[in-house]
């Protein structure tokens, strides 16, 4: 019972770190997926006096992935009350050309500004509609969300790291007598502190396994999947191999690092 309690405090602290880290990863992946989704639906419309070939448009800025001409038929249809065919044909020739530009990825506001500048360098382009107001709002909202989650994850990381440090200090007090006695008989530092390292590595494993179970459940939970589906994005919530290796690596590295600090700070008492 005492042994379980000894492990539990470190396992819970490590688990909180792993939890906040994986949540950050999920949010990051969701934002990337959402940005991709937005990029697919986002387009810039340009008005040109002359017909522009695909090569010309694609050469203006690397951000432009494709361009498509918008037909003027719908505009003309509205004016088509009593106009004869000849005039309609003339009107078609004199109306400016409209192009819808699809972008390679969801642009930052700075990228939108650069794109507009590059487009206006072409003398035949007279007007650009970038829907920047909507774009800016969505983009800033995404950044704000990511920022809040990052700060939250970082706070949990700092607080729990301090908790782990404190817990290992308690361990050090518990083990210091044994470590000192071993030192009197010439045990090297690694042997004296082997128990401390072993316990912290075991706890890192336990915390990683708990995190694996928790996120495996979350990744298959119907309600959570439905939420992602409702905003039309598909995200890998938990990759059982890559993510688990990452979580395990972080947990073990952190445990070893903190245990090393404790061991280096140990002073021999006789």
């Amino acid at each position: 019972m005492k042994s379980i309690r000894n492990h539990l405090s470190l396992v819970i602290a490590l688990l909180s770190i792993l939890f906040s880290m994986q949540i950050f990863i999920i949010v990051d992946r969701s934002i990337d997926a959402y940005k991709e989704n937005l990029a697919n639906n986002y387009a810039v419309v340009i008005v040109s006096q002359k017909r522009l070939s695909d090569e010309v448009v694609l050469g203006i800025n690397k951000l432009i992935a494709s361009s498509g001409e918008l037909t003027a038929d719908s505009v003309i249809e509205r004016l088509n009350s009593g106009m004869d065919k000849k005039n309609i044909e003339f009107l078609k020739l004199t109306l400016p050309k409209f192009y819808k530009l699809k972008l390679d990825h969801y642009p930052t506001p700075q990228e939108v500004i650069t794109l507009k500048k590059d487009l206006l360098k072409n003398s035949s382009i007279t007007k650009i509609e970038d829907f920047s107001h909507n774009h800016d709002t969505t983009y800033k909202l995404l950044l704000l969300f990511k920022g809040v989650v990052s700060v939250f994850a970082l706070s949990i990381f700092v607080v729990t790291t301090l908790l782990i440090f404190k817990e290992l200090r308690i361990w050090q007090f518990k083990h210091s007598e044994r470590m000192s006695i071993m030192g009197l008989f010439g045990a090297p530092v690694w042997l004296r502190s082997a128990v401390l390292f072993r316990l912290s590595i075991v706890d890192a494993f336990i915390a990683s396994i708990f995190a694996f179970g928790l996120f495996s459940y979350i990744a298959t939970n119907a309600w959570i999947l439905k939420q992602f589906e409702s905003i039309d994005i598909s995200v890998v919530i938990f990759n059982p191999i890559d993510d688990f290796v990452l979580l395990l690596g972080v947990a073990i590295s952190l445990s070893i690092l903190l245990a090393s600090f404790i061991v280096l700070g140990h002073k021999e008492e006789v």
Binding site: R178, I181, G183, L184, F185, G186, L191
Partner: protein, 223 residues
């Protein structure tokens, strides 16, 4: 005869710069039995601490087993300690370990084979009359029994030097006699150098010994 300890102009002081031992010279022959006596606070335990490197010389030189302890590196000190057996007045047993594991400690540190370790521990438990208590923990034993365990641990790895700080200080006659017999045996049969810090030298000791007395920070041999 080889010297296992050589001190020249040795000065020992605590961190507050209070000098305990002042410029002493003495040596201990390999295989000898030595008593160090002195009044409480005279510095005899401090001298013992310096011999196993827990207190570094402030001035002068202290060579133990060929290792100069002034400015010694931790790896060299560990190496030296692996060849010393120590018995403390307060036993210094690991409370959360069984008696058996406590005796095994120097053997584990010295990398002995598991079978050798097991045999050695069984033999020592017989010598200290604690075979029936092997699985118990230190706090389940009396003071005398704990000191016998500490004695067995000090002998386990056949050290070149045994340091004992008032090993029979608070013990009953039976345990005291057992401790002296073990120290005599180690000295006469294994030629282990034994240094005992004590207030009283036992009257019936079966080995020849040297007697140093510490007074006012100085040491002198008593004939």
């Amino acid at each position: 005869m080889d010297k296992v300890i050589m001190a020249q102009n040795l000065t020992l002081a605590y961190s507050n710069n209070e000098t305990i031992i002042n410029q002493i010279n003495f040596s201990v022959d390999s295989g000898s039995f030595v008593f160090i006596t002195g009044a409480s606070g005279s510095g005899k335990s401090t001298l013992l601490k310096s011999i196993f490197g827990a207190l570094k010389p402030k001035q002068g030189s202290l060579i133990v087993g060929g290792v100069e302890l002034k400015g010694v590196s931790s790896s060299k000190l560990n190496f030296l300690r692996r060849h010393i057996g120590i018995v403390f007045q307060d036993y210094k047993l690991v409370k959360e370990w069984s008696i058996e594991k406590n005796i095994m400690l120097p053997l584990i540190i010295n990398g002995y084979d598991k079978s050798v370790t097991q045999n050695q521990v069984e033999t020592l438990l017989k010598h200290v009359r604690l075979k029936h208590q092997a699985g118990k923990y230190p706090l389940e034993l009396s003071g005398g029994e704990q000191q016998r365990v500490a004695m067995a641990r000090a002998l386990a790895h056949n050290p070149i030097l045994i340091l004992a700080d008032e090993p029979t200080g608070n013990l009953d006659d039976y345990s005291s006699q057992l401790i002296w017999n073990l120290l005599e045996g180690a000295n006469s049969q294994l030629k282990t150098t034994v240094i005992v810090v004590t207030h009283h030298i036992p009257e019936s000791l079966g080995v020849e010994y040297k007697h140093f007395h510490i007074e006012y920070g100085s040491i002198h041999e008593v004939n």
